[in-house]
């Protein structure tokens, strides 16, 4: 533990220096002009992007946790593998294709974008929920039942708290990937920072592209970091982490 702090600081310092050099270079090439002249546009699209991520992640977490939990119940034993395999196959479909398929049925607009994002983040959440609950020591579940907990109490007071570390890791992965995928919702008229990225790509305008790409990347990094913080708050200090 003690050795890792200085190394972390060292890396942060390196990153700051690298970012500074890149920034200077971008400025020299005039890439920052667009961003300087249109801060309002970037802000508006950033908010749109955040909304896309927030709505889709909230729905995906709610649905994913529910499906994941239901899959671990004993009455689902026969279907569990099938469902997980099906979801695995769905996950291999590229995100762009998911968005395209969603568009062909739902038309264009934000709803379509959110729908596609939810579908795409569902699997990591379901998987981690199932894996998290399954790695809970059966002795804990047995002790819970033996002491007279109802099945619901065993789930909420024993299984989920002990699966939390793995579940939250899955959610974090899903949300961070979601930030990147959300850039594509521009293609179905969902808005977001993808607007700048894809326009920049189409017009071969590095300034425009960077104005979208840099905030997207920062958003992903900040969200990842926030989730790590959140994990520390939510997960009981009694649970060993980092295995």
């Amino acid at each position: 533990m003690k050795r890792e702090r200085p190394r972390g600081n060292y890396l942060t310092l390196m990153a700051v220096i690298l970012a500074f050099i890149l920034g200077v270079e971008a400025q020299r090439r005039g890439y920052l002009n667009f961003a300087r002249e249109n801060p309002g546009d970037i802000y508006r699209l950033l908010v749109q992007h955040l909304q896309l991520v927030f709505y889709s992640a909230s729905i995906a977490i709610a649905v994913g946790l529910t499906i994941g939990t239901v899959l671990t119940r004993s009455f689902m034993r026969r279907y569990r593998e099938t469902v997980l395999n099906l979801l695995g196959i769905c996950q291999t479909v590229p995100s762009l294709a998911v968005i395209a398929i969603a568009m062909s049925y739902l038309g264009i607009g934000r709803r379509t974008a959110i729908f596609a994002l939810v579908v795409y983040s569902l699997l990591p959440i379901i998987r981690s929920t199932v894996a998290g609950i399954f790695q809970v020591d059966p002795a804990l579940v047995d002790a819970g039942h033996g002491m007279g907990m109802t099945p619901r109490q065993v789930l909420f007071k024993v299984e989920i708290p002990n699966a939390m570390y793995i579940i939250l890791t899955g959610i974090r992965t899903a949300v961070v990937i979601n930030v990147g995928t959300a850039a594509m919702s521009f293609l179905v008229g969902g808005g977001g920072l993808g607007d700048l990225i894809f326009s920049g790509l189409a017009m071969v305008d590095a300034g425009l592209m960077l104005a979208g790409a840099v905030p997207t990347a920062c958003l992903a990094i900040i969200l990842n970091w926030s989730f790590e913080r959140l994990e520390k708050l939510i997960i009981s200090p009694g649970i060993p982490r980092g295995e």
Partner: protein, 384 residues
């Protein structure tokens, strides 16, 4: 009281019943040990009692009430439950772990806190130190203690314990067993105790039920199993050293000879020697007038000595308490090559003498009639 009446459990798809028509009564305040080789159905039988496993046929009643007529959740909340893997919840502090059942029963915070501290003290853990620890900060022995405390939290009259001391090293296991017996002495719970260790069964059980392939082979007092095994299986299960194991069950008090031959410290040396020669005694215990052990004299020291026997008495450091079990006493006798052990109570008074003759009579084989090199020790009282 727990009554099992032709209890049978057949798992779906299994050809053999896991538990086959077991009938057994466990009286209030007793520890009943379920023992047998692995796969004999002892754990299943235990889990049928609190309905963690549904029964196939037969009936189980707890305090006269058929468990099938009770709500399983309510039933379990009133039956303590401790398992080998302990199963402490890692995300909860020791306090919250112990408070599990009281919380389910809706106790108030103050009542729970008081109970947690009381239980921690009972299992020999300092409440202030351990209350707020998490299970991963506990040693194996401490975790097992908390596991037992958690099972007793709501003061259930009945407890089910599945190898509760199984996961710890032999030394700590002995300590925990002793502590638990001390607690049980006070609390008088009705306990089902599952183990595969015959020594643990003999030590913990007032009653032992030996199972094999789901059937109850023999149930009875530990001494009955050792002394009168029902068949070859029981005989081999309790082990070839079953005779020695009986020594575990008996206290020094049960085997000692009271009022052993001795002299007082102010008896005249000459007269004591005379009596010792006459009775063929090489050594003799010396006490004061209050029956307190002072030591022993031998013929060699007394020879030619004019004065009191107490003046030439040698110290006798190896004595045994009447509450120790005979196995420990015998081990002491063997390791120090003693023919007899003087039994001394806590107040220093001599209570009796343990010699190899009485021991060998007890364990069922005859041995040298004479008490080793001490010569014949009789219940004759003062020698003069």
């Amino acid at each position: 009281m727990i009554e099992l009446n032709h209890v049978t459990k057949i798992y779906p798809g299994a050809s053999q019943p896991a538990v086959d028509s077991v009938s057994l009564t466990v009286p209030d305040g007793e520890i009943c040990v379920f023992i047998g080789p692995s796969g004999c159905g002892k754990t299943t039988l235990m889990r049928l009692i609190n309905r963690l496993i549904p029964i196939t046929s037969g009936s189980i009643s707890v305090d006269g009430k058929d468990t099938m007529g009770l709500d399983p959740i309510e039933l379990r909340r009133h039956i303590g439950y401790a398992i080998q893997q302990v199963g402490l919840f890692p995300h909860m502090t020791v306090r919250d772990n112990i408070a599990t059942v009281p919380k389910l029963l809706g106790w108030t915070r103050t009542k729970i806190d008081a109970r947690v501290d009381e239980l921690l003290t009972l299992v020999n853990l300092e409440p202030k130190t351990f209350r707020d620890r998490y299970p991963r900060q506990l040693s194996g022995g401490q975790a097992q203690r908390i596991g037992v405390a958690r099972a007793m939290a709501a003061d259930p009259p009945i407890m089910l314990m599945d190898e509760p001391f199984g996961a710890i090293d032999p030394i700590n296991r002995e300590i925990l067993q002793d502590e638990f017996l001390r607690i049980q002495e006070k609390l008088k719970k009705t306990i089902i105790f599952v183990t595969h260790d015959i020594n643990e069964a003999i030590k913990m059980g007032q009653r032992i039920a030996l199972l094999k392939e789901g059937r109850l082979i023999q149930a009875g007092l530990p001494d009955e199993l050792l002394n009168r095994p029902a068949d070859e299986f029981v005989k081999s299960f309790v082990g070839a050293d079953r005779v020695l194991k009986r020594l575990n069950l008996l206290k020094v008090r049960d085997a000692m000879m009271t009022n052993p031959v001795h002299c007082l410290s102010d008896d005249s040396s000459e007269k004591v020697l005379e009596q010792m020669v006459k009775n063929d005694l090489a050594f003799l215990i010396v006490t004061d007038r209050g029956q307190r052990l002072l030591g022993y004299v031998n013929q060699y020291d007394l020879r030619g000595h004019k004065g009191h026997a107490g003046d030439v008495a040698r110290k006798l450091t190896l004595t045994v308490s009447p509450e120790r079990n005979l196995k420990e006493a015998l081990s002491q006798m063997l390791s120090y090559d003693l023919g007899i052990l003087v039994v001394v109570g806590e107040d220093g008074r001599i209570q009796g003498v343990l010699n190899s003759t009485t021991l060998s009579t007890l364990v069922g084989s005859t041995y040298d009639e004479r008490g080793g090199h001490w010569g014949r020790i009789t219940a004759a009282g003062r020698i003069l």
